[in-house]
Amino acid sequence: MPWYVDITARVGAMLIFLILTVLALVWLERKFAGRIQMRLGPMRTGYQGLLQSLADAVKLLLKEDLRPANADRWAFQMAPFVVFVPIFLIFVTIPFSRELVIRNLDMGLFYIIAVSGLSIVGIVMAGWGSDNKYALLGAVRSAAQMISYELPLVLALLGIAMQASSLNLVTIVEQQRFLPNLFMQPLGFTLFMVAALAELHRSPFDIPVAESEVVGGPFIEYSGIRWGIFYLSEYVNLVAVAALASLVFLGGWEWPLLPPAAWFLVKTFALIMVIMWVRATLPRLRIDQLMDFAWKILLPLAFVNIFIVGLYRLYQWPTWTVSLISLAMAIVAAATVYHFPGGERR
Amino acid sequence: MIPLEHFLTLSGILFSLGLFGVLARRNAVLILMSIELMLNAVNINLVAFSAYLVSTEFVGQVFALFVIVVAAAEVGLALSIIIAIYRSRATSNVDEVDLMKW
């Protein structure tokens, strides 16, 4: 098989998988949030509303594609793709099992961190190009939030990389055969999940797209298929973050009984359900609370996490001490946040 | 194999583009961007040398890394200075901020 056929087949298979997963996730989220709020969720479109997201997708494809008269043609029309492509590129190196991967990169973890940062530019392009004050406000909020929360996210992953002495995701997973990193670094996992929620613009950090403040944020002026691409990339990003977390913290496919890829998907979807649960439960933060939380709580904790892992690596401490210290730190941090919530509005 | 000179030519073009930007632009942020272009041109050179030239070490890559670090620090500082100037002068045009020149 020539290499270009191989690559096209792999990328195409991944794209189709992602689109189907996103359709399923949209339905799942609406049903799940509905059940939590004691409603039923979609019922009429297909059995239990199973075709609901398909109907939404077809409708969006057929909608009129509007461009505001004063919008910047170039930035406005390119933005959805600038957002989607980096997020899709993450999946190039996410292994579903040892063999089931488009291309296993030696620096996979670093690659994911580097590439995922690019999509911020697309959001800023959308916000600025729309020529709409709410869109611009949302984009600036989004950029500030994503830059701030990228630091704890990257530092939490750094702890994993230090422990595994590798950036290769397959190696990292194989080292967790007996003890997933979740039990090794509960603090790192907590930091990662909280920062990931912010990166995903998910509640309680959905300030950039807050309907009641900025009316949908950077995407406000988009209609039809371009808006659909934004929506798609938000969900693909959700899948990417959950997949990454399940690889580096939950041990990916390395559990017995089920086939490897099935374990991976089970863990990923469990994490996605947790994220949806958080969304259906918590109210939104204020923007100053958001920044305070990133810089004053998450970032120092991330440094503490790295420090603990460094001590473990340097002095060869037994594993359980690290777990205990990490867990204690996570609990102390949670208690601190609980007792001293964000400052007063200035 | 791509000859080394082609990489160097690319970096030369990029550097002169940056030079042109620095000399011809007025907006401070645009000048900063042009400086970034020049730094990148230098980085291409360093990395190309480390890949192509005879040496047991790969100092070029390490240096490029340091250049990127310095560029990041420079952008942060310069942008804060631009914001401070904009606050007091309501402009980011470098030709209007020439009080210290005479």
Binding site: L40, G41, P42, G49, Q52, V58, K59, L62, L66 | -
Partner: protein, 167 residues
């Protein structure tokens, strides 16, 4: 769906073979995913909100309120449209992408209702935007709004069917 310049294309084809069926298929998708614009003008809005809420749950029909007109399909005019507000309502309607529909909810938006003689109140929202479904009541009960949405779904399906057949 109104597509300018498409008539010639349609005319050259025998009726009912492909276009009509795809139109009906598209209508099926459209009617299953009616996203209304989130806004309320007066007391009818309270009933509308109650309809979105857990007990009645418009999400069952695939109806999901959306804050930006660019992503909305349906405009539910719930309440009194004053002259001052009419410009905003009209602008919002114009900002919505085709295809779009309007539901006039409550007596005020049908013909001015109790304010029919007031000069500062629009005597029916159909004077400024084309209305597809009227829901009488002051305010209508949530069941009435749900009925209106189902009527609108029927209308979308019938329109697609009719467009395929007769011209």
């Amino acid at each position: 769906m109104e597509v300018k310049g498409a008539e010639g294309f349609y005319q050259g084809l025998p009726r009912n073979i492909l276009i009509a069926k795809t139109d009906e298929l598209f209508a099926l998708a459209r009617k299953s995913s009616l996203w209304p614009l989130t806004f309320g003008l007066a007391c009818c809005a309270i009933e509308m909100i109650a309809t979105y809420m857990a007990h009645h749950d418009l999400d069952r029909f695939g109806v999901l309120p959306w804050p930006s007109p660019r992503q909305a399909d349906v405009m539910i005019v719930a309440g009194t449209v004053t002259k001052k507000m009419s410009r905003a309502v009209k602008l919002l309607y114009q900002q919505m992408p085709m295809p779009k529909w309007v539901i006039a909810m409550g007596n005020c938006s049908i013909n001015g209702g109790p304010f029919a003689s007031y000069s500062r109140v629009i005597q029916g929202v159909d004077l400024i935007v084309p209305v597809d479904i009227y829901v009488p009541g002051c305010p209508p009960r949530p069941e009435a709004l749900m009925d209106a949405i189902m009527k609108l779904q029927d209308k979308i399906a019938q329109d697609a069917h009719r467009n395929g057949k007769a011209k």
